[in-house]
Amino acid sequence: MSQALEKVFREEYGRIVATLIRISGSFDLAEEALQEAFTSAASKWEHDGTPNNPGAWLTTVAHRKVIDAIRRDKTRTDKQTEIAFESSRLQPYAETELLEEYPDDRLRLIFTCCHPSLVREAQVALTLRTLGGLTTTEIAHAFLVPEATLAQRLVRAKQKIRLAGIPYQVPSLEVIGERLAAVRAVIYLIFNEGYAASAGQSLIRSDLCAEAIRLGRVLCELLPNESENMGLLALMLLQDSRREARVKDQGELVTLAEQDRSRWDAAEIAEGVRLVQEALSLRRVGSYQLQAAIAAVHAEAKHADETDWGQIVALYGELMRVTSSPVVALNYAAAVAMSEGAAHGLDLLEAAGAGGALENYYLFHASRADLLRRLGRVKEAATSYTTALSLTTNHVEQKYIQRRLNELENKE
């Protein structure tokens, strides 16, 4: 694919496929037609040059292919009764509808892909495949699952949409809040999979981060003034701004305190901070906004020792009120350790872990070890680092813990 076409593909795929699904009533038909349209474009555009409005060109061609496919299906219906059911589901369409703008189609698609009757893995795969236009191969690579498994996951999800009658519509007001929360969870999960890859050599798979940020932008564009949507986008931008500084050239993890802040992405920080402020001004606070606000406080400190830990503790306190979870309690404890001393932080950390919910959580043991190290309790610190080491499969995190362990041995 040429660079021009690649760009159009990235920008237009979700929008066009969403419209085609509405017209055809079928995910498969829409995807096939758009794929064929891109193939036509590849040869046509090279010859005639890129059209003025590439998106409209592709939509027109793909739309025609959808109509052809429906006609073919209808002809076959006479002989093959099985197809009758699928054909009867297809919604009627009007030719004039085509060139109008349908901002809602992508919104319909998002809610269908993230419908709660689909399992989370299927929601993620379907969102990346249809809205993001990623290939099955790309998604399989990003999530380290065999391609056949992922393909099967997509087939099952589309089948469930069809057979269970999952609607292609924006949900009713009574349920839209919960549904939107599910959409945000899917997007943030994609981001996190890219940001802190749970296994493998590379800590960050930046293409997944970029895709999640793009989806976050789409969500903000489609549903403006939703403070948590803005909060999510801000959070992803602010975390992504540290990407370059987070890993050393040798692939080693660098903690927030040790990062070279001149390598942080200033543009992403500026946009993230602006979004957080805008979101908070709407006065509908939520967990993404609070996490983004915390990230913004970090982003605004030129040096680690200039960090306003008091404000971070206050924000974590608020976050505990909104979503009390052991992981939030752990982060709260870590912030208190910075603001009021390691001893106080360790008390809170032990309290957060008392329920046992964090027992298998790598960061709990790594944070505990860090605090014990700072308090000079070397032996206990080493034990906690060793536990942490056994709980992570990420090479970069393993290296970080190993480095800390080596430092402790030198102290003894």
Binding site: F85, G165, P167, Q169
Partner: protein, 121 residues
Amino acid sequence: MKYMLLIYHDEPSWAALSEAERQQVYLEFRKLRADLVASDQFVTGSQLQPISTATTVRVRDGKELVTDGPFAETHEQLGGYFLIEAKNLDEATAIAARIPSARTGSIEVRPLVETVAEATA
């Protein structure tokens, strides 16, 4: 589309309700049924006798095997069902959420396999 709403509940807790409490639940069921009839979404539905009345039939190697009790011991028991007509899954789950037992038990929503004859009619 047609959806079967299978109503699962905990039989012992149902049995433990007072007569007045039970009548209150029945009242809610009758109200829901009347609403569904009025909106043309009601196909059929019924409460089932408790699992103690259940009989299981299997045919193996051509031999009929009739045994006592439900097929499998589960945490919740099938206590009744509604067969409804709904535009899509969201409409079906919204109706399922109005079944009183949804508050204490759970409702399994299953689309019916639609026959070609029905779909093209």
